[in-house]
């Protein structure tokens, strides 16, 4: 310990420890696997039952009614052919992005604090991409023709039209789902082995033995595993910048005022990350308390998430400014009309002001240390960001469609109960899957967290280098 004191930097330069309370490796393993092994607490059931109801009753009802009847049950109608289905699609894709950013990009930049929240963020990605992918599939109207989008030889001798961004979307979203699931699963293999070795019942042992696939923790295994992890993290980082860009291209290749802008791909990527960080705060803040993980997901980690949210928020604010500036600077009367109507129009101006109020206004609160260290404030801000970003997508999609170039072509859009019901259903399905994940799978990357502890470094005094390996 003397050695440790000598080596320690001065207090003002010291970094917050990844895990508080200096548990040894054994105690840390107990702590991290406790929730997946312990009794199911009451709060879990209180959250799970309504989520499961939404997922298994409301969701299929709205889904099947729409598929059997037609897109007409939604509020979509000329001229607003993209309604809540596309708004929610972009919103869910956005929620996914923060998970990939945290688990992949922060891994490549060697941010040790990501180990504690990475797995939970990845699970968020996987489940929200599932929800996102559903929307375009049913938005086409005749869901049984979805296979037309895949290059399958067929009796009509027709192939997909690969020049369209809408087609690229099919590839992008499916790839995103597959790759983020692979990344999530591969990260869990060593932790499945942990749960296998700790299991006390035969059924748990069997299940986790299958999932761990015979993982022993051999140095040769780790060697290949680490390489594969870096490669996957690199590929996932590319996906962060690709998937939402392609969604953005769906819009900016259209001629419509308000959509036809080169800033859209970047705009959608940053918007997605911003929205996703909001969701990370909403999910992590209650779970760290209820699962007893306060010393693992520390206040310092939440502070860092808040700072990243602020950065994303500031870029978003800059993009809003640019959009309005370019609309004015272009001199195009249609562009000017659309943008002035976002804030001063008649039908949807409330949405425009909610968007500015939250994404530009509320985000600035994160400048203050006091706000960033209040979990309640962060939770509320996270919720508001989700609402703000949902509103943003509504303003972009509906706001540009309802008044296009010909006044004779104008119309209004109002979602119906089936639009809202389907959204509630996807929210329920998302939270149901998430709660199941938290309960049954290793929700914190056990081996990764152990790997960034000071004891894990063979050259660190706590790693035992100076006393012959005996502590």
């Amino acid at each position: 310990m003397e050695e440790l004191k000598r080596l320690a930097p001065p207090a003002e330069l010291r970094r917050a420890p990844v895990v508080e309370g200096r548990p040894n490796l054994g105690a840390l393993t107990d702590k991290l696997s406790a929730f997946a092994e312990g009794r199911t607490p009451r709060w879990w059931w209180i959250l799970f039952l309504p989520a499961a109801f939404a997922a298994t009753v409301i969701f299929p009802t709205c889904l099947f009614y729409q598929v059997f009847t037609g897109v007409g049950v939604w509020g979509n109608n000329h001229p607003v052919m993209w309604g809540l289905d596309i708004v929610n699609f972009i919103w869910w894709v956005g929620v996914a992005h923060a998970g990939t950013l945290i688990s992949a990009l922060l891994f490549l930049t060697r941010q040790h604090w990501r180990t504690t929240i990475g797995r939970m963020a990845e699970a968020m990605t996987v489940f929200s991409v599932m929800m996102a992918g559903l929307y375009p599939a049913i938005h086409v109207g005749r869901a049984w023709f979805d296979w037309f989008m895949f290059p399958v030889p067929n009796s009509n001798a027709l192939w997909p039209q690969f020049k369209s961004p809408l087609m690229w979307d099919v590839f992008a979203v499916n790839t995103y789902l597959m790759v983020s699931t692979l990344f999530w699963f591969m990260g869990m293999i060593p932790d499945f082995a942990v749960l296998r070795d700790r299991s006390t019942t035969r059924i748990r042992k069997t299940i986790f033995s299958f999932l761990a696939m015979g993982w022993t923790g051999s140095a040769r295994h780790w060697h290949n595993y680490e390489k594969a992890y870096v490669v996957l993290a690199g590929l996932c980082t590319l996906l962060v910048f690709t998937v939402s860009s392609i969604v953005g291209l769906d819009f900016c290749t259209a001629q419509l005022a308000g959509w036809h802008a080169t800033i859209f791909p970047l705009y959608f990527v940053i918007g997605a990350v911003f929205c996703g960080f909001g969701m990370v705060m909403v999910i992590l803040i209650p779970l760290r308390k209820w699962c007893g993980l306060e010393k693992i997901i520390t206040l310092s980690h939440m502070d860092k998430i808040a700072k990243l949210t602020l950065v994303a928020g500031l870029i978003i604010d800059y993009i809003y400014l640019m959009e309005f500036f370019i609309a004015w600077y272009s001199g195009d009367p249609y562009e000017r009309w659309v943008f002035s109507h976002r804030l001063f129009g008649h039908t949807y101006m409330v949405m425009g002001w909610i968007l500015i109020g939250i994404n530009v206004g509320v985000t600035q609160l994160l400048w203050f240390k006091k706000i960033r260290s209040s979990l309640f404030a962060l939770f509320v801000i996270g919720l508001l960001i989700n609402i703000g970003m949902w509103t943003e997508r509504f303003v972009i999609v509906v706001g540009s469609l309802y008044q296009d170039f010909l006044p004779a072509n104008w119309g209004k859009y109002m979602p119906t109960i089936w639009d809202v019901g389907l959204y509630a259903g996807t929210l329920g399905a998302f939270f149901m899957l998430y709660l199941l994940f938290v309960k049954f799978l290793p929700m914190i990357a056990i081996s990764e967290v152990k790997g960034v502890m000071p004891e894990a470094d063979p050259h660190h005094p706590l790693g035992g280098a100076k006393n012959g390996g005996r502590q």
Binding site: L25, G26, R196, G214, Y225, K227, G469
Partner: protein
């Protein structure tokens, strides 16, 4: 050499101890040995002379293969099998294939990374002789194990056991191969 013996296992307490032990086992001239740890130990790949992992190449091959196949597929679909004029653009031009091909490159690369990792590690396997050892359950917790395989040319029950004990290994035991 007995077919029943898989090897000798020794237990260590810290990352530094297993790293020093690994250096000594290597210097003693053993070839078929391995360490088992709850997390990757920094510097162990150098001690064990593992070199560069081939996973990156598997991933690259699958990614590049996916990229090329998508370019080929788009040419086949939109320019050869059923030529389709869209907006007066050429039937086929390389830039138009980029986005789908690039996305599938990511997909191929990701599958390559996972399958390459599993293949090179010879996973999945349903059983491993070490998993029979009760104490080996700690390898995923907080203990560090070193195993010298019976297949090694230098393996000798007495000598190897002596070596493992002399470098600080605790609970030196025989691992049986029941298969």
């Amino acid at each position: 050499m007995s077919g029943k013996i898989y090897g000798l296992i020794a237990e260590f307490d810290s990352p530094a101890a297993i790293l020093r032990a690994a250096e000594k086992v290597r210097d003693a001239g053993y070839r078929r040995w391995d360490t088992f740890t709850p997390f990757p130990i920094h510097g162990m790949d150098k001690v064990m002379k593992l070199g560069n992992s081939l996973v990156g190449w598997v991933s690259l091959a699958m990614g590049a293969g996916a990229f090329a196949s998508v370019v080929g597929l788009i040419w086949y679909c939109n320019a050869f099998d059923y030529p389709l004029i869209v907006g007066g653009k050429p039937m086929f031009s390389p830039p138009m294939t980029f986005v789908p091909a690039y996305i599938l490159l990511i997909m191929g690369g990701a599958f390559g990374a996972l399958l390459g990792m599993l293949g090179l590690n010879q996973l999945p396997r349903l059983h491993h002789p070490l998993l029979d050892k009760k104490r080996f359950e700690l390898a995923s917790r907080d203990k560090f194990f070193l195993v010298i395989g019976a297949q090694d040319e230098k393996f000798c029950l007495m000598e190897t056991k002596k070596l493992l004990e002399s470098i600080g290994g605790a609970h030196v035991e025989i691992v049986e191969d029941k298969d």
